[in-house]
């Protein structure tokens, strides 16, 4: 039971990270019909900014966190304005390729800065030593995991309120639904696109921080974690925010349970799944769900066939 709970906690905290990236992905897809493969890059660039401020420049941790996350939002906005705005109306496939290019550009720049030694994010509570952890009847929960979960939940609630109550939130939904009719209402659709990328950048930076915080550190391979939001999005259906969250939970929990139960499974059945199977499992699940339901669990929009 303890192991089960431990696996669940770890799975859910991964789900929180994935859902932050996944929601950004879905927001962009819904409003612009762009499949953005640049989200993982934004996540690690966000982490890089936080680390460079908090560790290299000695900016107080919370301030560094705030600035790093905001700057990543601004970076998202710049990416949209310079690379994607001119591509409006181009085929989904070409734009997707472009985002892969953006991903590579951002990550190479970041990798040059990271170098070979992993980077730390700084520590909000120096006395706890790298964020520390709490014990609940045998289950260890890292403060970082608690932070990831509460942040994700708060962000989801905040986005919900934003989409229901705020002028720009409603305008964003309208733009996703019918861009031309949104223009006809006087909505500045370009500004909406910028806003979407700003939000997606902020969400990615939060994810980047939770991926690399504590002992995890930022290295040249950290983006792979954020990349796992992709199967989550595909499972949920590219254009559904609840779908993105549920997809993330499915992926996160799968990964958690496989990590903890793979050894038992292998000893009982005698089948060897191999090292790091928990990292492969999300893609297998994605494959199975896609075969059963090509539009994902909650998807409605059909992606242009390429």
């Amino acid at each position: 039971m303890t192991i089960f709970l431990q696996a669940t906690v770890e799975g859910l905290s991964l789900a929180a990270i994935y859902s932050l990236v996944a929601i950004g992905f879905v927001l962009i897809y819904k409003s612009m019909d762009v499949l953005s493969f640049a989200q993982p890059a934004l996540a690690v660039v966000g982490a890089g900014l936080i680390s460079s401020l908090a560790v290299d420049r000695g900016v107080p941790f919370w301030l560094a966190l705030f600035i790093g996350i905001t700057l990543t939002g601004v970076l998202g906005l710049i990416v949209e304005r310079t690379f994607l705005r001119p591509m409006v109306g181009e085929p989904v496939f070409s734009v997707a390729i472009l985002t892969i290019g953006i991903d590579i550009l951002l990550r190479t720049t970041l990798d040059n800065w990271i170098g070979l030694n992993p980077r730390y994010m700084g520590d909000p509570f120096p006395t706890f030593g790298n964020f520390g952890s709490a014990q609940f009847s045998g289950v260890t929960i890292k403060y970082l995991e608690i932070a990831a979960l509460t942040t994700a939940i708060l962000i989801i609630i905040a986005l919900n309120i934003f989409f229901k109550k705020s002028k720009y939130g409603v305008a964003m939904r309208a733009t996703s639904f019918d861009q031309e009719a949104a223009l006809a209402q006087g909505i500045n659709v370009g500004r909406i696109f910028g806003l979407v990328w700003f939000i997606a950048g902020i969400l990615a930076a939060f994810a980047g921080f939770f991926i690399t915080g504590g002992f995890n550190t930022l290295s040249q391979t950290s983006f792979v974690v954020a990349l796992r939001a992709l199967p989550a999005v595909v499972i949920g259906g590219l254009d559904s925010i609840p779908g993105a969250v549920i997809g993330s939970i499915i992926i996160g929990l799968t990964q958690g349970y496989v990590a903890y139960y793979q050894y038992d499974f292998e000893t009982i059945t005698g089948i060897t799944l191999g090292n790091g199977f928990s990292l492969l499992a999300p893609y297998i699940i994605m494959f199975v769900i896609l075969v059963l339901k090509p539009d994902g669990l909650f998807g409605t929009k059909e992606v242009e066939r390429v």
Partner: protein, 262 residues
């Protein structure tokens, strides 16, 4: 006055659709713009409201002005801020959003008065008031047209451009819409009414323009157009003896073409 001078519009760099269209909408009037399928009526509205761009269309000649101020090629949000609102062809309500959210979107450029305007529009349309929290997609066709008109009024426009508001509505609802347009006009809104239902449009408008393949081929007082032989023959479905067909039902219904970018 909203004035369109010698307007030429090309889609996709090669398809010439408007070939020098000129007309005027004097303040306080209702002007009708008639014409058969594909004559370019919607393109005229898109040109005025800045929506050509999304359709890959360009104004290659001519200009558009309101009260002497040139507004050619301004972006759509600027046009709305200049006091020009439109009811798009096919209503184009945001069917996944609620009735009130649709109205709020119509008031996107006019946030200051938004609550007053919502109340005002809901009072105009009791049917919408009862369903204000409901998803707009569940409204009937007539109610959706009311919503589209109400949404356009949210920006408190001086000029209202309506693109075939009677499309697909039962005769009774068409009557209702035409009364409504007159009402809106009486409250001081200048109206451009694009219609295939020439009878309805000419009966409530002051002046009418008739388009054919990208040209204005005729224009006159609406009353005079109503009595014109050719107009009666081609646009009103009246035969030479002048006996009116029994009802709107008998006027041949035309098939909708597939919408671009819908």
């Amino acid at each position: 006055m909203l004035s369109v001078q010698n307007l030429e519009v090309v889609y996709q760099d090669v398809i010439l659709v408007l070939r020098g269209v000129s007309f005027e909408i004097p303040k306080g009037k209702i002007v009708a713009l008639l014409g058969s399928n594909g004559s370019g009526k919607t393109t005229v509205i898109r040109s005025i409201t800045g929506l050509l761009d999304v359709q890959n269309g360009d104004i290659t000649k001519g200009n558009i002005s309101v009260d002497g101020e040139d507004i050619t090629n301004l972006n759509p949000s600027k046009i709305v801020e200049k006091g020009i609102a439109q009811v798009m062809e096919g209503r184009r309500i945001f069917s996944e959003l609620t009735v009130v959210e649709n109205l709020r979107l119509g008031g996107h450029t006019n946030s200051a008065n938004i609550q007053n305007n919502i109340d005002r529009v809901l009072d105009m349309f009791p049917a919408l008031k009862d369903r204000q929290k409901g998803e707009a997609g569940y409204l009937s066709g007539g109610e959706q047209q009311m919503l589209a008109i109400g949404r356009a009024l949210m920006s408190e426009p001086e000029y209202l451009l309506l693109d075939e508001p009677s499309l697909g509505l039962a005769p009774k609802l068409v009557d209702q819409i035409s009364v409504l347009i007159q009402e809106i006009n009486k409250q001081g809104v200048t109206v451009l009414l694009v219609e295939q239902n020439a009878n309805m449009a000419l009966n409530i408008s002051d002046h009418g323009y008739i388009m054919e393949t990208g040209n204005i081929v005729m224009d006159n007082d609406s009353q005079k157009l109503l009595n014109d032989e050719d107009v009666r023959e081609f646009y009103l479905g009246l035969n030479a003896e002048g006996t009116k067909r029994k009802s709107f039902k008998d006027v041949k219904h035309y098939k909708r073409k597939k919408r671009w970018l819908s």
